[in-house]
């Protein structure tokens, strides 16, 4: 009878430590392990988010395409250069600085895709004789140099290396492209052929550059590009140097 009582009491008390142990285990789980897991998870989330942001920034940076043109403002302002920019890319581009040799001007100008803007006229105070290199920096850290190369200031006048017509072709197959460049005869209002070239195109985009210094400026140029007998490009561009850039683009 006594043995039975003792056994019953022993059975009754035997689970207390187990219960307390379980309570401690659960409290450890909820006060230490779960916060650790939550904090680690949050750190991972922040990491993944920032990594994605940086990847996006890098992609946007690589897609930035800015064409910078620089040309004399006018004969009445011989020390000034006009800066014109064309955003050829599909991304918005913010220009933060314009460099004239070792000096820069800060600005904030955002260009939408395919927007062409004259940023303004800048007194660059050139030495005579001297060279002026122009470039623009974007907020994503890209530096785009003047399409026409260096500008030379000699005897109070601006000069350049060459007049160029750049033809951009976008064609998604491998092909031999035949370019024919024409110039407009002002007197007859007729086109005369001045250059011809055949280029092996390996898909995507390609640029063919024509040196038209010998034909002078202002002038109007027309380029016809063919694959076999198929015309893939027929466009014109006007060159207005020295009151415009010495480089013009013929785009599809």
């Amino acid at each position: 009878m006594k043995m039975n009582k003792s056994t019953v009491r022993g059975v009754r008390r035997r689970g207390i430590s187990t219960v307390i142990g379980m309570i401690i285990f659960i409290s450890v789980l909820f006060t230490a392990v779960v916060p650790m897991y939550v904090n680690m998870n949050q750190a991972d989330m922040v990491y993944a988010q920032r990594e994605a942001e940086v990847k996006r920034l890098d992609e946007q940076r690589s897609r930035e395409e800015l064409l910078v043109y620089s040309y004399p403002t006018g004969k009445d302002r011989p020390h000034e250069l006009t800066i014109e920019v064309f955003n050829r890319g599909a991304e918005e581009v913010s220009i933060v600085r314009i460099w004239f040799n070792e000096k820069y001007r800060s600005l904030e100008r955002t260009l939408k895709p395919f927007e062409n803007v004259v940023l303004g006229s800048y007194d660059v105070n050139p030495t005579d004789p001297g060279i002026v290199d122009v470039s623009c920096t974007t907020d994503r850290g890209n530096v785009f140099v003047n399409q026409g190369g260096s500008l030379y200031f000699v005897g109070g006048f601006w000069d350049i290396d060459a007049l160029l017509v750049n033809v951009l072709i976008s064609y998604n197959q491998n092909a031999i492209i035949e370019y024919t460049l024409y110039m407009k005869l002002q007197a007859k209002d007729d086109w005369i052929q001045i250059e011809k070239a055949k280029i092996i195109h390996k898909g995507g985009e390609s640029i063919k550059s024509f040196d038209v210094t010998a034909y002078g400026s202002p002038n109007t140029f027309r380029c016809v590009a063919k694959v076999g007998s198929t015309v893939i490009l027929d466009s014109t561009a006007e060159m207005h140097w020295p009151s415009g850039s010495n480089v013009v683009w013929i785009l599809p």
């Binding site: 307390i20 230490a32 650790m36 940086v54």
Partner: protein, 155 residues
């Protein structure tokens, strides 16, 4: 008297009979609580240390990953015999740069502890004495171990 004494002893024994099991239960429970508390405190501190270590390492790796800068402009000032670099930090965290310049004629120059704040352009001047025609290899090394390289031809 003898019988009476035995009776008293038996009665006292019976009165005290439950104490040992209560005490042993209390000792056992106390032991469980103490060991459990130590375990809880240890696990708490261990997880805090582990969490801090993990978070620090993650953010350190992240900072290394998100560092972005470029050498925006380089030129050599022949009069002052100085190399002038404009470093543009277009990232979201400030950087500390060590710059190393090696010339094609074998001479080497450096500049340490150059801080560039986020979204800022920093002008850095480094005393460099090189002759015309030298080719300079420029290496900008951040304290987070990112590099940007450039070459400069001295005219």
């Amino acid at each position: 008297m003898y019988n009476g004494g035995l009776l008293i002893f038996n009665t006292e024994f019976r009165l005290r009979k439950g104490y040992s099991s209560v005490i042993s239960s209390m000792i056992l429970t106390s032991a469980v609580i103490i060991i459990g508390s130590i375990l809880w405190a240890y696990s708490q501190s261990a997880t805090v240390v582990m969490t801090n270590s993990y978070v620090d390492e993650t953010f350190s790796t992240l900072n290394n990953l998100i560092e972005r800068f470029t050498i925006e402009k380089i030129y050599y000032n022949d009069t002052d015999k100085k190399m002038i670099l404009y470093i543009y930090n277009y990232g979201d965290i400030s950087i500390t740069l060590d710059i190393y310049i090696n010339s094609s004629n074998g001479s080497a120059f450096s500049s340490s502890d150059n801080n560039v704040d986020r979204q800022c352009l920093q002008r850095i001047e480094i005393p460099v004495d090189v002759s015309s025609g030298s080719v300079l290899s420029i290496k900008c090394h951040t304290r987070r171990s990112n590099d940007v390289l450039a070459k400069y031809y001295v005219l």
